[in-house]
């Protein structure tokens, strides 16, 4: 019996990174906020680079609550979409080139989003990770945490409920 050779690592990485890049860059508002994603296997970390335009209180140089909320929501939607696409990326059913050409999958739609502000957002880069607590056929529930200097001291967290795009799973 012959075993299938595993794909070369750079082929796998190239495919995953191309799919992620297309997904993120397809959303104009993520680009406007300057949100990027770092990938380790299937785990994503969202990064919002600090910029003066994200400030909500000039006297305190604190991040705007709206910028923080938007960052969390972008992280949740991309995290959820990524988890929906992952299997198709892995088995090759999804062609990253098609994504790059702008043939994007339909994204989940937010039903409700609740943000808790735990600390003032500092004028620095912020990071966020989403955890999908439930992902059903019609609805999903996602929790997101954002931090700056210390991973153990989040400055904001959010829970969002989403309606799944039709035709997926």
């Amino acid at each position: 019996m012959t075993q299938m050779q595993p794909e070369p690592v750079q082929v796998i990485k190239q495919r995953r990174d191309a799919a992620l890049k297309a997904l993120v860059e397809g959303v104009p508002y993520s680009r406007f906020l300057g949100v990027e994603f770092d990938r380790r296997g299937d785990e994503l970390t969202a990064i919002m680079r600090f910029s003066d335009s994200l400030i909500g209180n000039a006297a305190l140089s604190a991040l705007h609550g709206g910028a923080t909320a938007a960052f969390l929501e972008v992280s949740a939607i991309i995290g959820l979409s990524w988890s929906l696409l992952w299997d198709d990326i892995e088995c090759g059913a999804l062609d990253p080139d098609a994504l790059v050409r702008g043939d994007l999958p339909r994204l989940p739609r937010t039903v409700s989003f609740t943000v808790d502000y735990l600390r003032s957002g500092l004028p620095r880069d912020a990071y966020a990770r989403a955890r999908i607590n439930r992902s059903g056929r019609r609805y999903a529930s996602v929790h997101v945490e954002a931090w700056q200097d210390n991973r153990a001291r989040p400055f904001a967290q959010a829970t969002g409920h989403f309606v799944m795009p039709r035709g997926d799973g």
Partner: protein
């Protein structure tokens, strides 16, 4: 808008760079009430296929408007920060239309301001989103 409120509005945006970056326009900030609008802009789109504005941009508008309502309440103490904010999205905003948020600070205790808000596009009767939030009040 009288001169006092327009001065307040101008000062508000000088102090809030992110609201300026999103092109927000204050039409009212007084007495626990705020009204802020945001023009349609392709940079704020969340779904390129439909051209619908990203929920995050609506959240930013709602946070700003609810915060402004809290700030303008006579008992609020002159500065504020969001404690929590919940947004319910009723329907996608119609692409190309400006979004207008109205918020009311309906109760202030020694430390907390309670606010609710609503966002509409050109169809006033069917809100795009509603918000409920609490904000820091007093000299916290």
């Amino acid at each position: 808008m009288d001169e006092d409120s327009s001065t307040i509005a101008r000062q508000f945006f000088d102090a809030v760079p992110h609201a300026k970056a999103l092109g927000m326009q204050v039409t009212r900030i007084e007495d626990g009430h705020a009204e802020i609008a945001m023009d349609y802009d392709e940079r704020f789109v969340g779904d390129p296929e439909t051209g619908v504005i990203h929920g995050g941009a609506v959240s930013a508008l709602m946070d700003t408007c609810c915060g402004a309502a809290a700030l303008s309440h006579p008992d609020s103490g002159g500065s504020t920060a969001t404690i929590d904010l919940r947004i319910d999205y009723m329907r996608p905003a119609t692409p190309g239309q400006r979004i207008r948020a109205v918020a009311e600070c309906f109760q202030v205790t020694r430390s907390v301001a309670f606010v609710r808000g609503r966002a509409m596009d050109e169809d006033d009767d069917r809100p795009v989103a509603t918000a409920t939030g609490t904000f820091v009040a007093g000299d916290a």
